[in-house]
């Protein structure tokens, strides 16, 4: 159905690039640290969507034995790493924001 609206132009890689653009826009204008972390979390799925979309072959199955007419498994495998890193980094960034509020704010300091 989505193809009938977009005329087949909205493939997964294009959608990924659009998500990256949206996240970058957020990073450029949002004045809130947590919103910025969320923007990073919009960009990363954009990359994942872009990458996995690259391996897509139309009307192909999952890459299982016997390997007949399957999608390219490598992009999906690689993106697992990125997803894991994103989860860890997001939690670290949020923890850092808490620490910033606890420790750094209220000090009379210059950059």
């Amino acid at each position: 159905m989505i193809d009938s609206i977009t005329g087949g132009y909205l493939t997964a890689p294009i959608a990924g690039i659009i998500l990256i653009m949206v996240g970058l826009y957020g990073l450029m204008v949002k004045k809130d640290l947590i919103k910025q972390v969320i923007c990073i979390n919009i960009i990363s799925p954009g990359v994942v969507l872009y990458f996995t979309g690259l391996g897509y072959v139309s009307e192909a199955g999952a890459p299982l034995l016997p390997f007949v007419n399957v999608v390219d498994p490598i992009p999906a495998t690689l993106m697992l790493t990125t997803l894991v890193i994103d989860v860890a980094v997001t939690s670290f960034a949020l923890a850092l924001i808490i620490k910033i509020e606890e420790i750094e704010i209220g000090r009379d300091e210059k950059w």
Binding site: I20, L24, L27, M28, V29, K30, K31, D32, L33, Q36, I40, I43, S44, G46, V47, Y50, F51, L54, I74, P75, L78, T81, T82, I85, A88, V89, F92, A93, L96, I97, K99, I100, E101, I103, E104, I105, R107, E109, K110, W111
Partner: protein, 521 residues
């Protein structure tokens, strides 16, 4: 065999964490830490006899396996890691004991340093784009956590800014890798080289990758995270960050230079590198915080290294990376001794006060970083100069004079002998001295000559410093635009992201204009 270089530090990091939770005594923990730092060294030495040593893990073919190896491309990077890391480890044992305060415990920092070691070595031996990217992420994340573990004021801010800039650049780097994978069908760099077709998309992919790597290396228009992160971290961590972590993205650039074609990027890279040299010097000369001074000097030195890449000179880049690693790690540790004895980071208040040995060390390191000829820096400078055209040589020399002026200022401000004060020689002072000796020794091995030009450069630098000193230019302060709070930090990240996007667009427009048939300029 080569895989052990990466596996051993990571294994010891795991072992360290495991034994820490069993409540083992701290002395044994330190033993495990030192063992982990020294463990890859024998493997490296065994492989030294038959270089280049390239293997594909698990005995697979290149198409299916991960290729790693040691050759001329990463030899100097690895050598620098294997010298700097043990030195910093010895130094950090003393440093963290003395500065144990509230906050992150020193044993967590040892664990993170081991992890950083594994990350750096992993990215330096890899010959597979995605493998390189993953190890680069391990390196960066560990570095960010190490920065945030410091007790210095503003360390959390610095860490958050580093994190955001790193994430954006990582995303773009992986995006670029995706394009390269689609165009060539491989992630192994040798196979990419075999299947390379330099068309518009490939050029854009390499451009995006380069801008991301420039950000991670802290080179001028995208250096924002570097000065704060390197100056707020603990001293041994600063030495590692400035000495090695920023060199890992440079190795990524060398991978692109070796296995793909970057001829179309020469002009913008050369402009960026010159801007970085001058900007770093300009900012450093007005800094009062001595660690920030050294951090801005790193920005300028990364510019010198990028000159090596923009002249397509792999050998000179490796040499420059090696010499800068030695000098900057040594300077951070040497100055760190003064900082911890004075409890202050201001250049105007720090003095050597009777520490003659440390003063000699700092002078040697300053000569090394300034590229004076019996040191390796002189040979590295000479090999970069060979590929430069007539006018660029003078631009390069101005940069050298600037660097020497910076360190003339540093030594002048620190020298103030008070011979009544007797300060006991500290064992820590040997560590930067050994790094200075390595720089000198390798320099004499490669280029045992003395260039008269260097004397003229030092003379000009001293004159420039005297002029700056007596015209009171050095008293200027760089104004700060953003407030010291969360809004200020968010505003900075907005601004830095915008600059990142603008630089990307400019680079891509340049490439499309001259090579893609688009005629804008």
């Amino acid at each position: 065999m080569v895989a052990l270089i990466v596996a051993l530090p990571l294994f010891f990091a795991f072992l360290f964490l495991l034994t820490k939770y069993f409540g083992i005594h701290r002395t044994y923990l330190k033993g495990i830490f030192l063992l982990g730092i020294l463990s890859p060294l024998p493997v490296f030495l065994l492989n030294m006899s038959d270089l280049p040593a390239m293997t594909v893990l698990g005995g697979w073919t290149r198409v299916a396996g991960l290729e790693i190896g040691i050759d001329g491309l990463n030899f100097f990077f690895l050598l620098a890691s294997f010298i700097v890391f043990p030195m910093v480890a010895v130094y950090s044992l003393k440093h963290f004991d003395k500065n144990e305060e509230v906050g992150v415990s020193s044993s967590s920092k040892y664990f993170l340093i081991l992890l950083l070691y594994g990350g750096i070595l992993g990215s330096l031996v890899s010959r597979d784009l995605f493998n390189y990217a993953v190890y680069l992420e391990i390196t960066s994340i560990t570095a960010i956590i190490l920065v945030s573990s410091s007790n210095a004021r503003g360390a959390k801010f610095a860490s958050f800014r580093y994190l955001m800039l790193y994430l954006i650049s990582s995303v773009f780097f992986i995006f670029a890798i995706g394009i390269i994978y689609v165009k060539t069908g491989y992630l192994n760099l040798y196979l990419i080289q075999q299947n390379l077709i330099m068309d518009k998309e490939m050029m854009i992919a390499i451009t995006l990758a380069f801008v991301a790597l420039i950000t991670k290396a802290g080179i001028f228009p995208l250096h924002f995270w570097l000065p704060e992160a390197h100056s707020k971290a603990d001293t041994p961590v600063s030495a590692l960050l400035s000495g090695l972590t920023v060199k890992v993205p440079v190795f990524g650039m060398l991978l692109f230079l070796r296995y793909t074609s970057i001829d179309f990027l020469i002009v913008p890279l050369f402009i960026v590198s010159l801007c970085s040299i001058y900007f770093g010097i300009f900012m450093a000369i007005f800094q009062d915080d001595v660690k920030k001074f050294l951090a801005y000097s790193t920005v300028s030195q990364m510019g010198f290294i990028l000159v090596g890449i923009s002249t397509l000179n792999i050998h000179a880049t490796g040499l420059y990376v090696f010499t800068h690693s030695m000098a900057k790690a040594g300077l951070f540790m040497g100055i760190g001794i003064l900082i911890s004895s004075h409890g202050n980071k201001s250049i105007s208040e720090l003095t050597f006060s009777g520490r003659k040995f440390l003063m000699v060390t700092i002078v040697l390191l300053a000569l090394g970083i300034g590229g004076v000829s019996p040191f390796l820096g002189g040979y590295a400078k000479y090999s970069i100069l060979k590929n430069l055209s007539k006018y660029s040589i003078y631009l390069f020399y101005i940069g050298s004079i600037g660097t020497l002026t910076l360190f003339t200022r540093l030594i002048f401000e620190l020298t103030e002998f008070d011979l009544r004060e007797k300060i006991r020689f500290e064992f820590k002072e040997l560590v930067p001295f050994i790094l200075a000796l390595v720089s000198l020794g390798v320099g004499i091995y490669y280029y045992p000559e003395f260039s008269f030009t260097d004397i003229i450069l030092i003379g000009l630098a001293v004159i420039a410093f005297i002029v700056l000193k007596y015209t009171k230019v050095l008293k200027w302060k760089i104004p700060h635009y953003y407030e010291y709070n969360e809004e200020g930090l968010a505003g900075q990240i907005n601004f830095y992201t915008t600059v990142f996007v603008v630089v990307n667009i400019l680079f891509i427009l340049y490439v499309l204009n001259f090579y893609g048939g688009l005629h804008i300029f």
